[in-house]
Each structure stands twice: as structure tokens, then as C-alpha cells.
Amino acid sequence: MTSTAVPADRQQGLTKLGGRPTLGRYMTQLWGRRHFVIELAYSRFRSQNEEDRLGIGWTVLGPLINAAVYGLIFGVIMSSGTRPDNFVPFLVTGVFVFQYFSSCLSGGAKAIVGNMGLVRSLHFPRAVLPISLVLQNAFALMPMMAVLAVIVLLTGEPIKVQWLLVPPALLLYTMFNLGISFIAARMTIHVRDLAQLIPFISRVLFYMSGVFFSVKLTVGSQTGKAEILAMFMEYNPVHIYIQLVRHGLLTPDPKEASGAYATPGMWLMGAAWGVGLMILGFVYFWLAEERYGRE
């Protein structure tokens, strides 16, 4: 048996593979792969409903039907004083905007574990996957926003300058969702079971974010223990982003700003959550970069 070659000099001018690059270098690598990120996101978006008759139509139709069901149950059958005037665009905005978050949360959780084939065969900074996922959902959001604009106009709301507030709100929201995606992607690798909890987290946030009711009208005047819950609902970032979009599109309710309100404070919080979570999430994800191929 010939002896195996054990190099005396480990380096020999070669670099060790699989080490984690510095944050700066990682971002440079990521920038270099931007075309791949975009192409992957767009290709996956296009092929999402490829075999269905209505194809891409379902990206809008699905959430629309969702909104109709909630509208029927909570607006008509179980109606109460918690729904503001002009409930329809209020509700549809809530449903459409919320689903951007929930799809980034559930998709982000699968971004690495659902792509092990890619991770095991090709070299690229793994952040490509959660970023591409969020971009894919952003592509789905665009037709939804168009349909939303039509619904808003059809229900009597005018076009106004405030509509220009919607893109920056969505941008901050996208940054927030990127952070969510990074964190979910890495956490599910360490504990696969987390993927089982994701639907429940989504559910809880759905009921706490004023999607089909107005938070102010429901819990606005609580005191004591309920007040803490009320504050959580009021200031949870998903609710903030929903309100920012509503504020841009709809006329604020004259009675105590119960429907489409947004204070400058909320804008600040939206910006803080967006920028903060994106940076935190990205760093958290990058810290485990060298481990993503193992399982």
C-alpha cells in the first residue's frame, strides 16, 4: 500500500475552502450574483402556477378570494362596530399586504432546507436564496397592488397624491420581510421543527394585525392588562406596514382616525423595523454561511 500523501506544508499558497468570507466580501460576492438572484426569482415566479388554467392569475385571484371570504364572515355575517367605513378596500389592503409577510415567512423558512440540491452542487453566497424568495414574492405583489388600486377606485376613493406614499412603505416592508426571511431560513436549519410552528406564528399575527378589523376600534380604549395587548397589536410591525399602505390609499376616517391612519411615529417605527431587521437578519444569516452545506 503506497503511503498517502500528507503535505508537510498545509498552505502551499492555497486558500482553505469553505471558510466564511468577511461581511464586506460577502456583500461583494452577492452583488456579483445579482443577475442570478433576479433570474431565479422571476423564473420561479413565472413557473409557480404554470400548470393551472389561469396560470399567473392565481397570484391575484387567491388573495382576492381570501379577502372575499373574510369580508363575508367578518363584514357581513359577524359584523360589528369594529369595521370602519368603506370596509371593502380596507379589508382587501389588509389581506394583500399581510400575505406578502406570510409568504416571506413561510418561504424564507424553506429557502435553504428546500433547496439543498442547489446548495450541494453550486457555489454561490447562500443569501441568494432568501433574497430571491423575497423578490419572487415582490413580483407577486405587483399585480396585487394593481388590482388593489382598481378596487380602491371602484369603491369611490379618489386618486390622490398620498398614493405616492405607498412605494416607500412597501420598500420598508420589503426590508422587514428580508430580515424575516434570513432569520427563518437559518433557524429552520438548526431546528427543522420550527417549520411546523410557522403556520401558527402566521395565524397569530394575522389576528393581531388588524387585517379584517380596525385595531383602534377593537382595542383602542382598553386599560390595564388588555392595554398591553392593545399596544402590541397597535405597534406590531406588520400592522404598522398595513396601516402605512392604507393611509396612502384610503381617506382617513373622520371619526377619530379609526380606519386608514398613520402617524409620523409609525413611519419612524416602520423605518426602524425595516432597516434594523434587515441588517440583523443578514448578519445572523451570514454568520452561519460556512455551515449550510452540511445537512
Binding site: 503506497t2 500523501a5 506544508d9 475552502l17 469553505g18 450574483r33 443577475h35 413557473s47 440540491g117 453550486l122
Partner: protein
């Protein structure tokens, strides 16, 4: 023994050491690499007491599978190295570790640029057209959009599917699909190339063309690793071979010797 420098001359390497042979530049150094998988096992070990066996439930236990156990070697510029061994011996795991895609549990791999696996299947999407997939696959492999545009026609021609480019890949025959995947993967130039088996599938005509292309890639690449069960391909294409057996490097030497030893052990 020399210190860590950026120079080209490595210390004497047993595998490449023949009287009169020039010392070539090392391109990949694998240093005492171990890869251990942690897997949930649902079976029970045979030695447990018989009364437990009567229970219908099986327990899930965490087990460690030591796929690669302390392998070390150095690969040099211009070498074509075959990797042979029984199924489950750890060859594919070793290859992915050499590529830097599976991090080793212990030890390290050193290379000038990350070695690349020949294959792009994971990135392609069956519901999309061959055309879209060429772009997607090319970008996944690290090409720039300009490179993809340049190579697009050559890829379509090599795969011989020009009339079907606008149809979704799921409508291609298995041969067409395999040809396209290979054509995309083989359009990239590699410095250190890793080929894991059974790539040249397809009819005789394609098989010949793909073997030719692999030879071209080999000539352009600095170093090539070929995992194969076909001992004939290993003998044809590689001067050196590694015999991996149950995660250890059993033999490392000229391919004819290693293949002979392997065949002798299998009889």
C-alpha cells in the same frame, strides 16, 4: 520542508514521486478530512434484548455516519485523478467536500479557487422553456449575462434541440433533457473540475460528443477528478487513481495499479 509561501515548489509528494518527474504546482490539498453526518435512525441495533424486539414501536435515535474518515492527499496541475470504490464508500461525499460544498467535520481542503462540480440540474426548472433554462443555468453557474448570451447558441447547438427551445423542459425526452443539462454545465471553463459519474448518458452519438467535451474540459482545466464505476473510463482518462473504501483512502497511485488492486479485492 519549506515554509508557507506563495511559491510554486511543494515538498516531495509520495503519489507523484517518480524518478525524474518534475514537481508540479499543487492545486488541491486535502488534509485529514472527516465528514460525519448526523442522521435519525428508526431501526434498532440487533444486540438489544429480545423482549424489546417484541414491541411494535421503533425508537428514533440520532446516529452519526462517519462517511469520510481522515483522507489526505495532494492533487497537482495537469493531473486527472480517478476516484473508485464500492457504492457507499464515501466517494460522492468526498467529492462534494473537495468542491467545498460540504464542510468537513474535521480537517480542511485547500485550493486556489473553489473546485466546481460538473452539473447544473438543481437550478433548472422543468416548467420553463429550454431557452429560459439555459439563461438560468448559466447564471447559476456563475456566468455573467453577457457570457450567457455569447454561449447561448453554442449550448443549443451542442444539445441539438434548437427547434424545441421555446417548449418547457418537462416536454423534452429524457435524452434531450440530459443533453441540454450537460451542454449547459459543460459550457463553463473550470480550473479544478469534479465529475461525478454517469454524465455522458444518451445515445451513442451524444455519448461520443460528451466524452469529447469532457476531454476538452480536462485539457483546459488544471486538475480533474472523475468519480466512476466504469474502470475503463478511469483507465482511459486518468493517470492517477484513489481507491476509497468505507471512508478511508485505501490506495493512491498510478491508475493501472490501483484499478488492478481494486479488481483483485472485488473478486
Amino acid at each position: 520542508m519549506s515554509e508557507a509561501t506563495e511559491t510554486v515548489t511543494p515538498p516531495a509528494d509520495a503519489a507523484a514521486d517518480k524518478p525524474g518527474q518534475q514537481q508540479k504546482k499543487p492545486t488541491v490539498v486535502v488534509d485529514d478530512v472527516h465528514v460525519t453526518y448526523r442522521v435519525y435512525a428508526s431501526g434498532r441495533p440487533a444486540k438489544e434484548a429480545s423482549f424489546l424486539r417484541k414491541r411494535a414501536t421503533s425508537m428514533r435515535r440520532l446516529r452519526e455516519v462517519h462517511a469520510v474518515r481522515g483522507i489526505s492527499f495532494t492533487a497537482h496541475e495537469g493531473e486527472a485523478i480517478g476516484v473508485i470504490g464500492a457504492n457507499g464508500s464515501g466517494k460522492s461525499t468526498l467529492l462534494r467536500t473537495i468542491a467545498g460544498l460540504t464542510p468537513p467535520t474535521k480537517g480542511a481542503v485547500y485550493a486556489e479557487t473553489p473546485p466546481t462540480l460538473l452539473g447544473v440540474n438543481a437550478a433548472l426548472i422543468n416548467d420553463l422553456s429550454g431557452e429560459r433554462n439555459i439563461v438560468l443555468g448559466g447564471l447559476a453557474l456563475g456566468m455573467s449575462p453577457e457570457e450567457v448570451k455569447e454561449k447561448y447558441d453554442a449550448i443549443a447547438e451542442f444539445a441539438d434541440i434548437q427547434e424545441f427551445l421555446d417548449l418547457p423542459m418537462r416536454t423534452y425526452s429524457s435524452g434531450m433533457g440530459a443533453r441540454l443539462r450537460f451542454a449547459i454545465a459543460a459550457s463553463v471553463t473550470h480550473r479544478v473540475l469534479l465529475i461525478d459519474e454517469a454524465l455522458a448518458v444518451g445515445d451513442a452519438k451524444f455519448s461520443r460528443r460528451s466524452e469529447e467535451r469532457i476531454r476538452e474540459l480536462r485539457d483546459h482545466a488544471g486538475t480533474v477528478f472523475l468519480v466512476s464505476h466504469s474502470l475503463k473510463s478511469v483507465l482511459d482518462t486518468c493517470q492517477r487513481a484513489l481507491w476509497i473504501d468505507k471512508g478511508i483512502l485505501r490506495l493512491d497511485g498510478p491508475s493501472d495499479e490501483v484499478v488492478k488492486a481494486y479488481q483483485a479485492s472485488v473478486k
